[in-house]
């Protein structure tokens, strides 16, 4: 058994100190030492993406990340996606559009999709773009189409306030627009 080390990391905005073997999988640190069982193990070898979490904003397979590598990092898990008790737009879209069935892959899909929407920022990604972004997450239930639709629906809803703001701006400068 490897010696224990004390590591600190930020999980879902909360500072955590854990005493673990440095090569312990981040997946197990989250599930066992932080009590966050929302992150799932599907294959243990980085193929299925069920264990996807954000490590400093980037989606990673937490089954392939040793604890030592996460020291000092910001980690976001499925439990950290909603602000407060209400579901996020993305979570709601997954429920309403049929993006979750058995639910075992869902945390990983949500985390990957969350990162995608953070990247596209108010733009609705194309279907192909969503499919490529999700290619590292396996789902055996849905056939993916409901998931892709859920992600794009959430992007549309997210984009709406931004678009409304732009429209309002345009409305406040009618003269300039007319001058063009």
């Amino acid at each position: 058994m490897s010696p224990l080390r004390t590591l600190s990391l930020t999980v879902n905005g909360r500072r955590r100190r854990v005493r673990v073997p440095p090569m312990k999988r981040l997946l197990d640190v989250l599930r066992e030492d932080c009590g966050l069982t929302g992150t799932k193990e599907g294959c243990g070898e980085g193929e299925c993406g069920a264990c996807t979490v954000l490590l400093d904003g980037a989606p990673v397979n937490s089954c392939l990340v040793p604890a030592a590598q996460a020291a000092g990092a910001r980690v976001v898990t499925v439990e950290g996606l909603a602000k407060g008790p209400a579901l996020s737009l993305l979570q709601r879209a997954f429920v309403e559009r049929g993006g979750t069935q058995c639910g075992m892959c869902t945390p990983g899909f949500l985390v990957t999709s969350h990162a995608l929407l953070a990247r596209t920022r108010g733009r609705v990604p194309s279907e192909a773009e969503v499919r490529t972004a999700l290619a590292g997450n396996l789902c055996r239930c849905t056939g993916y189409q409901r998931i892709v639709e859920a992600v794009r629906e959430a992007a549309r809803l997210k984009a709406r306030p931004a678009r409304a703001k732009r429209a309002a701006k345009r409305a406040s400068r009618p003269a300039r627009k007319a001058a063009r």
Binding site: E79, E127, R140, G143, Y144
Partner: protein
């Protein structure tokens, strides 16, 4: 009804709150590991425990520790819980170990050495049929059936055109994303088992036998289940038995959760099959004779093989009218891990075969494949090979026509042929596209049917019981043993009950399947949950409403009113629980001896068109489009129906193109997601799904079974699309690049 309300457990699943078995931990819990055989067949000579290993705190259990019978009860009792002497398949469980620390438990497993005297194994269908090595009786046969109508042999002899073909398919892994797992706990002289499963009462039954306990001393509770697809129909009795035995012996809670490697290597898979077909036709394509010979590989023990084979055989003639049919079906024993239930349950194999055969026939008859199918597809009044008259809700022609139309079948058939010919001419003249690729496109289509509910007298035999009761808050609560696996069962149950009670769906509670709380409404299998169990619940709800309205002496107006009346009822009359048991619908007759009669109360129908792009140099095939129309009686929850259809179709595409279990000396060598490949989001095509409704009077609100149907159809459509694109018809699925390249070179593709 017909409204897609939000999935009940959806919020828990998208927030990480849903607790699957591996998310649970009990105080003092041990972690169990399984010592397995590395050989396919042999005799255990000696078991050695490494003396250098520290065995402190390790619990060890073998077959001698089983308090009841060392048997896993499925349909028969041929499978031991743990090997006593003879090993019949690789990965068979020999011994169990458990420790507080999962790493120590794993180390203990590795510190056990099993000395085995190997025996020559039987590993394939061919070896089993040859019977040079006998592992079961004189002929290695696990089960056989014969179905006959008319005189197929005579009709073949007189037919204007006879078409012959052989079709092969291998194992397929269910690959639910959550592996098999359970936690057993010894409580008050009994056992409580929690776990990922489809059929709590199967496990309940099996544990009684193993532990020698009466029913009330065994309690089985389903935890949130991350997919099943049949893979958690029979296997939970095995892993559940293992955990229960360790818990029984140690007195401590024991968790066993497999990792992916162990799950793929050791648990059940779809039966491999070899199907030989001869059909006789008139020159216009009309079927006059069908002769089918099915052989499936059941593996080392029976598990569900008799019923898988039966269902496969009953669908083997396809959804076609034919006056002379002979279907022979055999299942052989081999020294491979037992084959078991997997969505479709024998039908994906036989429908793939008959549909591929219809395409071969169309080519031989120089007919369009859709024209040939339309000419022979069953309509109301037609008779199946078992003599069943199809009386109602028969939509084979409709799904065929709708799919062909929406897919643009006729136009694409011509256009792709033209474009492919033009590309071939250009290449011959030395002109290639800028990327240099020799791509061809093609479209194929297949028609399928799936009998809903148990086969033959199955429903009569299990006598399902479902119930509806009032909670102290005056809410209706569904009591059924059928499990939410992701398919949406509990949402649909709530919808169907709410509709009859006249209350909002949110008012309805659904109890977790727990044998201490819910009656035995049967297993969550056979596309029976909505149609059969939903039907019982619909009747419960009707009766409950009558009782309450009689009590109130007026009609119930809405949800709030229901709750008011219910609370008053509880106060004045006491608890209210309404139960309904399955009753055989009048006019449904089945004979298990002659295999004649109504094999199913009804069939659901689907047609699926698949478009592909094939690369002649690499042999790679990409599915670019799927169009499907599926007739399921009535769509209770359209979003979930479409979800079932898209998901099932993608499993079918995986079966057709990617998913191949590779064996070496009777062991799976690709037991990983790295090399057992399932479709990703970029492999999956866009789906165009049409739900066709043709209400079945015997189902609740007209609903028929749906879960398995979509899986049955895609494989043959893929094979035909590839043939249309490349001219090469591969008779073995999956159509891997290697097989396609061999077929293009004119070689055997077995």
């Amino acid at each position: 009804m017909g409204v897609s309300v939000p999935r009940r457990e959806g919020p828990d699943k998208v927030t990480g709150r849903a607790l699957y078995v591996d998310d649970l931990s009990l105080p003092g819990m041990l972690h169990g590991r399984t010592v397995r055989s590395s050989v396919s067949r042999g005799i255990v000579r000696r078991i050695e425990f490494d003396p250098a290993f520290d065995w402190n705190g390790v619990v060890i259990a073998d077959h001698k520790d089983v308090p009841g019978a060392n048997i896993v009860t499925h349909i028969t009792e041929d499978q031991p819980l743990l090997v006593e002497r003879e090993i019949r398949h690789a990965e068979e469980a020999i011994l169990l170990v458990a420790h507080r620390d999962p790493e120590r438990a794993e180390a203990a497993r590795r510190a056990v050495r099993v000395e085995v005297e190997p025996l020559e194994p039987v590993l394939t269908i061919e070896q089993a049929l040859e019977a040079r090595v006998r592992i079961l009786g004189k002929d290695n046969l696990l089960k056989q059936y014969a179905i006959a109508r008319g005189d197929a042999e005579a009709a073949l002899a007189e037919a204007e055109v006879v078409v012959e073909g052989e079709y092969l398919c291998g194992h397929q892994e269910q690959l639910y994303i959550e592996n098999n797992g359970v936690i057993a706990e010894r409580v008050d002289g009994g056992i409580v088992l929690r776990g990922s499963m489809q059929c709590p009462y199967y496990v309940h039954h099996a544990l009684q036998r193993m532990l020698g306990l009466p029913p009330e001393k065994v309690r089985v509770i389903q935890t949130v289940t991350g997919g099943g697809f049949g893979g958690k129909e029979d296997y939970p009795s095995v892993i559940g038995g293992h955990a229960a035995l360790l818990a029984w012996k140690s007195g401590r809670p024991v968790k066993i959760v497999y990792d992916r490697l162990e799950d793929i290597a050791a648990t059940t898979k779809r039966h491999p099959a070899r199907v030989r077909i001869r059909t006789g036709h008139r020159r216009d394509g009309t079927l006059v004779a069908t002769d089918v010979d099915v052989v499936m590989d059941g593996g080392a023990y029976q598990t569900m093989t008799p019923v898988v084979l039966s269902r496969g055989a009953l669908h083997a003639g396809g959804a076609y009218r034919c006056p002379n049919v002979r279907i022979r079906a055999r299942a052989v024993a081999t020294n491979t891990p037992p084959s078991g239930a997997f969505r479709g349950f024998g039908v994906p194999q036989t429908v793939y075969a008959i549909e591929s055969h219809m395409d071969r026939a169309a080519a031989q008859l120089k007919l369009d494949p859709v024209t040939l199918r339309r000419r022979n597809a069953v309509v109301v009044g037609d008779i199946t090979p078992t003599g069943q008259v199809l009386r109602e809700s028969v939509s084979a022609v409709e799904v065929l026509e709708r799919t062909a139309e929406r897919a643009g079948w006729a136009e694409k058939r011509r256009r792709y042929a033209r474009e492919n010919a033009a590309a071939a001419r250009a290449e011959k003249a030395g002109r290639f596209p800028p990327d240099g690729r020799r791509l061809r496109r093609g479209i194929g289509l297949a028609l399928g049917w799936h009998g809903a509910g148990f086969t033959g007298s199955g429903e009569v035999r299990i006598q399902s019981l479902a119930a509806l009761e009032l909670t102290p808050e005056g809410r209706p609560c569904v009591l059924a043993a059928n499990c939410e696996l992701g398919q949406g069962a509990i949402t649909v149950f709530a919808q169907m009950v709410a509709e009859r009670l006249g209350v909002p769906v949110e008012l309805v509670e659904v109890e977790t399947p727990d044998t201490a709380k819910v009656p035995n409404s049967g297993p969550t299998v056979a596309s029976r949950t909505t149609m059969v169990v939903g039907g019982l619940l619909e009747r419960c709800a009707t009766a409950m409403r009558e009782r309450l309205e009689l009590f109130a002496e007026r009609a119930i107006r809405d949800g709030a009113d229901f709750q008011r009346v219910a609370k008053r009822f509880l106060k004045q009359r006491g608890p209210l629980r309404v139960e309904r048991r399955y009753q055989k619908p009048p006019g449904l007759e089945w004979n298990d001896q002659t295999y004649q009669g109504d094999a199913y109360p009804c069939f659901s129908y689907a047609a699926t068109a698949v478009e592909v792009e094939a690369d002649l140099d690499t042999g790679e095939v990409r599915v670019t489009n799927v169009t499907t129309a599926q007739e399921i009686g009535r769509a209770i929850h359209p979003v979930q129906c479409v979800g079932q259809i898209e998901g099932g179709t993608l499993q079918g595409l995986g079966y057709a193109l990617l998913e191949e279990v590779r064996w070496k000396d009777g062991r799976v060598w690709n037991a990983q997601l790295t090399n057992y490949i399932i479709p990703t989001s970029v492999d999956a095509p866009p789906f165009d799904v049409t739900l066709v409704e043709n209400p079945f009077p015997g189902g609740p609100y007209g609903a028929k079974g749906l879960g398995e149907l979509p899986m049955d159809v895609p494989a043959a459509a893929v094979v035909e699309a590839v043939a249309h694109a490349t001219g090469a018809r591969v008779a073995t699925i999956p159509v891997t690049p290697e097989r396609l390249l061999r077929a293009l070179a004119g070689e055997e593709t077995r």
